[in-house]
């Protein structure tokens, strides 16, 4: 125990000796937490429509007004030909082209049937299909209006199914309340994993590890001495993010048990720092540790469901997401903050994270050799 105390004192001295790094560790995550959630917004709005109206009738005008007033679309351009509008799409000035044929109103009245032509830039598939559905709904309702205007009352009625949708837990579909916890979780992960993975290898590079190796310090103490300072720093960064940035700036207060959240964080950090240590024991230089850490952090990030839903991934990718500790932490963050979950709902998460913590740390201790 006494050994550990001395080791800790040494580690803290080393960390506090370089104030630049300490400042970077605090400032980088907080600035990002302030800015990035504002940018991370999937809501599909401001869809730019280029309109090619060959008809110029009161009814085509009515339709355009209806589209413009829906709030989802911006009528950016009224061209005279499809090819002109298409050029706008090539230049990213239009996401959607709506072509209204000539004599739209007359044909509709005479032949009781008319086509509209819609071209959607589908490079971003989600945006395209959502935009298509929105516009389809608007045209459908416009169609209903016309029928009501033109048909005698008793004929207007075809059976209508009305779809009413309700959103629970986040009725206004606020993206910030969804993104802030996730981004905070990831930033804390980066702080812990990077710093930890570099630390041990730095001693290898400078050669001071030899001095530790010749002392009778047990390796689990040595590893523990490396782990605890970063555990504390990461805890601090997390609290700063949760109580200062999330609460004061975004007004996000977790609905569930904060105690459960911290208990999980404590366990999670042990697991993530274990990954950092593991990377460290496998590398010989900081550059190696860095590129390895980059590789894993990037996978952790993109396979964690932070930005893209895990639900859409192929089965093998889901499997990777399942063995990714970050997935669980982000899930727990969101469950506690938004759904008000507590220990009862998080039992499985705790068990799995405990498994990760034991696994990574024992691997790291096993792989750290005092003799080369």
């Amino acid at each position: 125990m006494k050994t550990l105390k001395f080791l800790l004192r040494k580690e803290f001295k080393q960390i506090f000796r370089n104030p630049i790094i300490l400042r970077l560790i605090l400032i980088i995550p907080m600035v990002q937490l302030l800015i990035l959630p504002l940018a991370a917004d999937y809501e599909i709005k401001n869809i730019n429509i280029a309109v090619v109206d060959h008809d110029h009738s009161p009814y085509s005008q009515k339709l355009l007004n209806k589209i413009a007033s829906s709030g989802y679309f911006r009528l950016t351009n009224f061209g005279s030909s499809y090819s002109e509008a298409f050029q706008l799409m090539e230049k990213n000035k239009a996401d959607l082209i709506l072509e209204i044929p000539s004599n739209f109103e007359r044909n509709l009245a005479r032949e009781k049937n008319e086509d509209l032509f819609l071209a959607i830039n589908a490079i971003n598939g989600t945006k395209a299909s959502v935009g298509g559905v929105y516009l389809g709904q608007i045209i459908h309702s416009f169609n209903q209006d016309i029928r009501q205007d033109w048909l005698p009352v008793n004929q207007t009625s075809t059976p209508q199914i009305e779809v009413a949708s309700i959103n629970w837990f986040n009725p206004f579909l606020n993206y910030q309340i969804f993104m802030v916890p996730g981004i905070l979780a990831f930033l804390v992960t980066m702080v812990g994993a990077y710093m930890c993975s570099l630390n041990l290898v730095k001693e290898k590079e400078i050669g001071t590890i030899e001095q530790i190796n010749v002392t009778p310090i047990k390796k689990q103490y040595f590893i523990l001495g490396k782990l605890i300072p970063f555990w504390l720093i990461a805890m601090f960064v997390f609290s700063l993010g949760l109580f200062v940035v999330a609460r004061l700036i975004y007004g996000i207060v977790p609905l569930g048990s904060i105690f459960a959240l911290y208990a999980f964080l404590a366990l999670y950090l042990v697991a993530v720092l274990g990954v950092g240590l593991l990377i460290s024991t496998y590398s010989n230089s900081q550059q190696q540790a860095m590129s390895l850490a980059f590789f894993f952090i990037m996978i952790f990030l993109l396979m964690s469901g932070l930005f893209t839903p895990i639900e859409g991934m192929p089965f093998w990718a889901k499997w990777i997401a399942d063995v990714n500790p970050v997935t669980y932490f982000i899930e727990v963050m969101r469950m506690v903050v938004m759904k008000g979950s507590g220990f009862a709902e998080l039992k499985n998460h705790f068990l799995i994270m405990f498994g990760f913590a034991v696994f990574f740390n024992s691997w790291a201790i096993w792989n750290y050799r005092k003799t080369s």
Partner: protein, 368 residues
């Protein structure tokens, strides 16, 4: 020139000596482009949903079958009370609950109107809107089938064409983004430590006392990474075309040229960081922790940039990969030529020049 070549050779030795890093340098982009090319998508498939059918009549059963028919939903049938819905959502797997009220079919035929309720777990707003849209579309399609449009007078039909990506595949959007991300970050990361490392190990002093122009010292550092990145670029392009099925509709030479431009931009950024940082650790903190998330978000392949508040749209202009992403989409997918991307290319060139000048300015030919 001969001196310069000698220095470049020295840098190559440095890089090739460290076999592990070299392996990573080639392995990283390959693994990432494959992994993310296949795995990243905004599509949502096979979501478990619960149908609470209080109506239990033919039409509600037909709609239920329609909902379960595609690969969007996995349907469970269960009657849930309000409280039970909350417990189901808390557990986290089920994302949507469809409620048919009692007398659904009767209302539909006798009052010509009936309501279906969709209750979504909106803790993930993205999933909630997407699956609500899927379900709405399926129900609307069914309703159209109830009253074939020919019988109803005054019908407006829409003929929709999906351009560039008719199958709405996620790869078309994500592969160019991942390309930009991987190329940029790896180049920045690797060069950012190059100068600082010499400072740390003390060999910088030796370089500085040599009669060689200090600016050339900086340039020679970037050359090996330029070569490696170009090799990586070829591999990445081959993989995305042959493995991920990305089209190359435009000129491949043009694509290669602008990619090389992005690589050079990234290298100059790395050099700048390396000049400013005092230790490998801080260089890495800046280049990884500082750049990973902002690059990912501001490139625009995750979140549409036009949705962001305007100050952030301004910030996004500073991210080189944003411009590269626009170029790659234009050249690879839309098949446009240089006349349509010269502005973006010019911006990248401007950035490169600025970063290079700045890092030369910041380079101190003296130790402390």
């Amino acid at each position: 020139m001969k001196q310069f070549l000698a220095f470049v050779r020295k840098e190559f030795y440095h890089v090739f000596r460290d076999r592990k890093t070299l392996l990573l340098l080639f392995g990283l982009p390959i693994a990432q482009i494959i992994l993310f090319g296949f795995a990243l998508t905004n599509e949502i498939k096979n979501t478990p949903i619960v149908i609470c059918n209080y109506a239990n009549d033919p039409i509600s059963h037909q709609i239920t079958d329609k909902l379960g028919a595609g690969d969007h939903f996995i349907v469970q049938k269960q009657l849930l009370s309000h409280q039970e819905i909350e417990t189901v959502f808390r557990k986290g797997k089920v994302k949507l609950i469809v409620v048919f009220p009692p007398n659904f079919q009767y209302d539909l035929y006798h009052q010509n109107q009936a309501q279906i309720q969709l209750i979504a777990d909106a803790s993930d707003p993205n999933i909630a809107t997407t699956i609500t849209n899927y379900a709405t579309r399926i129900i609307m399609d069914y309703q159209q089938g109830l009253s074939p449009s020919k019988d109803v007078p005054y019908s407006i039909n829409t003929e929709t064409r999906m351009i560039y990506n008719p199958e709405l595949k996620g790869t078309t959007n994500f592969v160019p983004g991942v390309m930009a991300l991987v190329l940029l970050l790896i180049c920045v990361l690797m060069t950012s430590v190059s100068i600082v490392k010499e400072k740390e190990s003390g060999t910088m002093e030796i370089l500085l006392v040599s009669p060689f122009n200090p600016i050339m010292v900086i340039f020679s550092k970037a050359v090996p990474y330029l070569v490696i990145s170009l090799a990586n670029l070829v591999i990445i392009l081959l993989l995305s075309v042959f493995l991920l099925g990305m089209p190359v509709n435009g000129s491949i030479t043009l694509l290669f040229a602008v990619s090389a431009l992005l690589i050079i931009t990234a290298l100059s950024m790395g050099l700048l960081i390396s000049n400013v940082a005092d230790s490998q650790q801080s260089a890495m903190l800046i280049s990884l922790m500082g750049m990973l998330l902002p690059t990912m978000i501001f490139t625009g392949f995750m979140f549409p940039i036009e949705n962001m508040p305007w100050p952030l749209q301004l910030i996004s202009n500073l991210v080189p990969s944003k411009w590269y992403y626009i170029i790659v989409k234009s050249v690879m997918i839309k098949g446009l030529g240089f006349e349509d991307i010269w502005q973006e290319s010019l911006i990248l060139m401007g950035m490169t020049a600025f970063l290079l000048v700045l890092s030369i300015k910041k380079f101190k030919p003296r130790l402390s």
